[in-house]
Symmetry: C2
Subunit: 488 residues, 2 copies
């Protein structure tokens, strides 16, 4: 099976496409740019969702659900927002089909034209702030801390599974606050939650920082981002949290009365992560044998394979081991299919990224041991059946930590400080990676570098953004030390 | 607060609308027929979802996600299905907006017309069976047991919150099997899961049965339903499970090779429940003081109210009690808002349906007791602080059981056996309810009764559908004893 995957060195992009397909994560759909998320891929999303939802609730948020369709006129209420979002989107114009009078099939009923067209949400700020106008009257109604799990749609021209698709699944938090300070704190807090989730659960180290003006969300005053490095050295924006100022409150006339009965505009944030995270997960950890899933997000953490096939003795030991693993909160399957050979099963579980495999054979059982193989390093160890649950529990933690450390070491190896533009271009033409350099803070410099090299400012890092010299490009005084990279 | 609700006796329909609005479950949206599900309403859906998802997984199903948009041509592939579904639906015809050349705002870009229109899924059989064609090649690929949690849209002319909305949230199971027997078993099994969920979690007794030909799902060979009685005596179809025969396999050419390399069409089922369940929940248990939520589906099971307001002693006892309740797996909030009086809080928690309220006052604390009030019966009891968690745990179970028993007693009281059509009409004109009567099995009789009385055959009950005499309407030999009722 593993041979079916194109090696990274040969064609990174094809390697990615092979993984998503052959690990059973997605299937292309008959609808342009939309993906079918297969059970194995959706299980990763379910685990991402469960953990993030827990973290959102722990930070005081509740979930709600707003309509899929947004009246066209809403989109143009916030001037910058419409520029960023209202263009490439799915437009509903009719509400009925009828039998084709001229032949088989159905056609759109021309009499069922909508008075105002509806847009499938590309994001929900507009419909949510239109609603918040009714929910927020007094300072007592604030803060309003709401999140939504939903599907959204952006009519992208060039799509890639998980990374950029017309329809995708995501969560969007939309909060309302009495003061600017509180709103900024909220945006920062969720930025921190995303970073913690990425590092602790996805085992994916991230650089936290703020976006430059040109890379900000349409309608935001500040966008905080987490940026991860993929195995080809490119950056991937994994989650963003926006301080929206009073832009949406102004556009939708959302005001509150303070304790002294004085009226104020409300302050806002929004923040989101999407199924794109699955793409990030794949490109951070997987290898030429297939997918690698960090144990904390794996729906199946352990696969047990009988060697060479199931029999009564092996089944009994397996049942015992499965019981012990499950008691320890570890998810496990028994692959007792008699029609497939162990080697085939090994390759299949590797392809699908199961963190730990336990092989159980009669010879090993004579010594009361089983063979434990870890997906990350491919190491195999003979382990006593006694105490196996504790061993596997520790091993899963070790794999989780190892994946993070490996990804972090990779990132460090491919991160560079750069003081001249020549050096910068040479790095980008070579191995790429993250490049820290001084920037004069002007959009002109940013744009010129982007056009000349394809690299963008990924963020102004939260840590250590003090310039160490003049702007690499213009030679003028630098405003920040920023992170440049080519990006997904 | 409670006074704001129209009593059921006065205007049942207005009572329902008052509850959904005043208990904070929904908000009308600017998009026709679409609802905004507010946090308190969405929390009920989250609990419904969590429990059902667990039951689906325990019965071997996995989740996946299929595209929101369906090519128009797919809908007409299954002849009956298109009649039932392809008509009133949201049609996407364009994929871009542009700045209005004649003024402010945005307009649809006429050059961005789609080659083939796309339909927002009213249900996903077509796109899923189009996909299954690629996934099913051999008997080894069967059964395929997939479920999807999603939003769907049907352009309903008359909508009511939760009960009938243009967009709603649901789950749709779609399974594929090698044999008819297996597929029928699957449809029956999920029918059973729905009934168990309705009774054990929603505390809502249901009648299980099969739909008559005319009430079946478009494209199904058999539809199994669970029917519940609302407090106005009307029936509500709460969940359906369909045996689809080979209709979709034929329409989408899905075949498998058996062990002898012989080709067969695949057998199918589909089954779904939706946010409609929340409407059923409301109309089964709530009263003139507001919502009543069964403890097993309540996001907040206990509200603690300081009397008359919080102080250090009360706070300390509360923290201790909350700790004990949470250790027992009970969800609890402390309503320590100093600006509201206890009476206001009591009414508010009643309105929102919190199963148990604990009042903590200084005088009671001198005797080391607190006041425990249950939402279902409004009874108040003085309960020792010592052992409070155990008391509340038992009480929650008692409330759950009481709600079920009360609803069941109500249903029995309003269920009638009927042998003449005059009696039948008199019952319907009076208190309504469920009426069991003999039916000759013809669609003509069914239709005549529907047109003359508004009552429909809700189901041919699984238990006791043997006729006890001739058809009540035609006087001909009866085929079944069926359940008639007016329905939502």
């Amino acid at each position: 099976m593993a041979k079916e995957i194109t090696p990274r060195e040969e064609n990174y992009s094809q390697w990615y496409n092979d993984i998503v397909k052959k690990a059973g994560l997605i299937e292309h759909s008959p609808v342009r740019g939309c993906m079918i998320i297969k059970p194995h891929g959706y299980a990763i999303w379910e685990n991402i969702k469960a953990q993030l939802d827990k973290m959102f609730k722990e930070t005081g948020h509740v979930n709600a659900y707003f309509p899929l369709l947004i009246p066209k006129s809403f989109l143009s209420k916030e001037a910058e927002h419409v520029e960023g979002f209202a263009k490439e989107c799915a437009v509903v114009t009719h509400h009925r089909l009828m039998n084709n009078p001229d032949g088989p099939g159905v056609v759109v009923d021309p009499t069922a034209k909508l008075e105002e067209e509806l847009i499938i949400r590309p994001t929900s700020e507009t419909i949510i702030w239109d609603t918040y106008r009714n929910w927020i009257k007094s300072y007592r109604d604030l803060p309003l801390l709401i999140n939504q799990w939903a599907n959204v749609m952006r009519w992208e021209m060039r799509t890639r599974p998980f990374l950029r698709t017309a329809e995708f699944l995501w969560q969007e938090g939309h909060t309302a606050h009495a003061t600017q300070t509180e709103a900024v704190e909220e945006a920062r807090k969720m930025h921190e939650v995303y970073a913690r989730f990425a590092e602790d659960y996805m085992a994916m180290p991230v650089i936290k920082g703020a976006k430059s003006d040109s890379e900000r969300f349409a309608g935001a005053e500040d966008t905080y981002t987490i940026e991860a490095m993929m195995q080809d050295g490119k950056a991937l924006q994994a989650g963003t949290s926006h301080f929206l100022g009073q832009n949406f409150a102004k556009a939708f006339d959302v005001k509150y009365l303070d304790a002294n009965n004085k009226e104020h505009l409300v302050w806002a944030t929004s923040w989101g992560v999407s199924t794109r995270l699955i793409g990030a997960l794949i490109m951070t950890h997987s290898d030429d044998d297939g997918l690698v899933i960090p144990p904390r997000l794996a729906a199946t953490q352990v696969a047990i394979v009988p060697i060479p096939k199931p029999n009564e003795v092996i089944n009994e030991v397996t049942q015992q081991i499965m019981g012990e693993l499950r008691s320890a909160g570890i998810s496990v399957i028994y692959d007792d299919d008699k029609k497939k050979r162990p080697g085939f099963k090994f390759a299949e579980h590797e392809m699908r990224g199961i963190p730990v495999r336990i092989g159980i054979g009669m010879r090993d059982l004579e010594n009361n041991v089983v063979e434990v193989a870890r997906r990350d390093t491919k190491e195999k160890t003979s382990v006593p059946v006694d105490g196996i649950a504790q061993y596997v529990e520790n091993l899963l933690e070790e794999i989780q930590a190892n994946l993070f450390n490996k990804a972090k070491a990779f990132r460090e190896e491919h991160s560079h400080e750069c003081s001249t533009y020549e050096e910068f271009k040479a790095l980008l033409e070579g191995k790429g990676g993250f490049i820290y350099a001084n920037w004069d803070g002007t959009p002109e410099t940013e744009l010129a570098i982007k056009e000349e090299t394809g690299a963008t400012i990924r963020c102004i890092p939260d840590d250590n953004s003090t310039p160490t010299g003049p702007c690499m490009y213009s030679g003028k005084e630098a405003k920040y030390r920023v992170l440049y990279a080519k990006a997904y």
